[in-house]
Symmetry: C2
Subunit: 239 residues, 2 copies
Amino acid sequence: MSSEDITRVAVSTVILSLKREPGDEHASVVMPLVRRVRDPFEGRWALPGGWLDVHEGLDAAASRTLAETTGLSPSYLEQLYAFGAVDRSPTRVVSIVYWALVRADEVEQAHPQENVAWFDTADLPPLAFDHDEIVGYALWRLRSKVGYSRIAHGLLPGEFTLAELREVYEAIFGRRLDPANFRRQVENSGNLIPTDRFRTGSHRPARLYRYNREVELADRGPLTHGLAPAPLPSESSRS
Amino acid sequence: MSSEDITRVAVSTVILSLKREPGDEHASVVMPLVRRVRDPFEGRWALPGGWLDVHEGLDAAASRTLAETTGLSPSYLEQLYAFGAVDRSPTRVVSIVYWALVRADEVEQAHPQENVAWFDTADLPPLAFDHDEIVGYALWRLRSKVGYSRIAHGLLPGEFTLAELREVYEAIFGRRLDPANFRRQVENSGNLIPTDRFRTGSHRPARLYRYNREVELADRGPLTHGLAPAPLPSESSRS
DNA sequence: ACAAAAGTGTTCTTTCTACACCCATGA
DNA sequence: TCATGGGTGTAGAAAGAACACTTTTGT
């Protein structure tokens, strides 16, 4: 059996976060990429990922590559798509691709890794393999899913103001939203719980909200294995 | 390298169609299953599928297994999910699962295959592997997607009445819909083109409509490779 | 003529949207 | 006190649900 006669399985992850530039109009969606040091597409940027271990589930592999690349645990992790065109790589590779959200404040605290850099998704370099297409699909999925789901909270810390949450939506949608209407929509959705704490510093203090964990249902369907929109249990801590 | 040290890739397909029993209240969603003749779960019913050939794309493999099982070409075919838990099979198998819709009239004309039987999805036997979970997910996806997409047409022939289309929605949702409101909704969606032909036979003749192929966009996102909601090109005819 | 399905109209409710307006704090 | 973002009110538009009503066929 020559090496061209086997199909290998890889797992990659599109990791998304938010970054607000000081003078910018609104925040931008950013993602980490890994510079390839081996032959196919050497020197090009690619999605973080690796080969699937025989004793490792798909979700666990995604969490592992995410931890190896960013040192973070995702606040949201979901399978995106399986890419398996015959000519997408010199050898036959089927890539199970996940996408994940990490909080902006956690990204700032993490220490940078070797050969890893964060890019604005609106200004990406040409990527290795078919990773351009994959990233495009992930961003499309983020935009469409943020409309009917509450994954936007995955980009924020535990407590946040409505203005911060609105800023996330505006960054993803790329347009301004009416603060008054936005408030009502998200308040009536039942996903937010108001705290008695306030964010002070600028003008009138803004009430801090937190995420309602009771309402997890009716979104991802029957596939709710171990993957939770809340911080992952301990899949990446299997030493 | 022993056989336990490799991960194999399989492709399975949840094939869905509609069947209207003579005396029944409304039509039911049906799917073909294959009786296993080999060791793991021998005798149990399972999803149609097979091993991924090294020179075969994922989409092509799904089309192939669909043709082998039913002799039909799908009117809709989409990747569902990749299942890869370590313990889902005695050996390590990652299954890329697709789901497909075939038209009821085509199913009736097709000649039955060996070891293949059609089941009502509301009354399924226990399936092999984790196929129960997979089918449950596919049905959930069908129900949620029929609400904001127009895949329901994939279960009907080229021309159909609004009552027939409504019957599809009622079977999938499992509840009655107001004929008047249903008509307006689907007429205003711009997805249907009225023809000048009518279906006669019962009472007042009903106008026949057909599917508007111009409006394919804004649904499945950037992933519109060769897979089309319209009948597939010739992926399964690669002799 | 009558039953039954096709197709139209009307009303009420809910939701979205635009925008005016008041409130509370830092400077 | 004034600028600014936090927060509330409200009126019109759009969309959805319920249901009465008219039209056209087979029997």
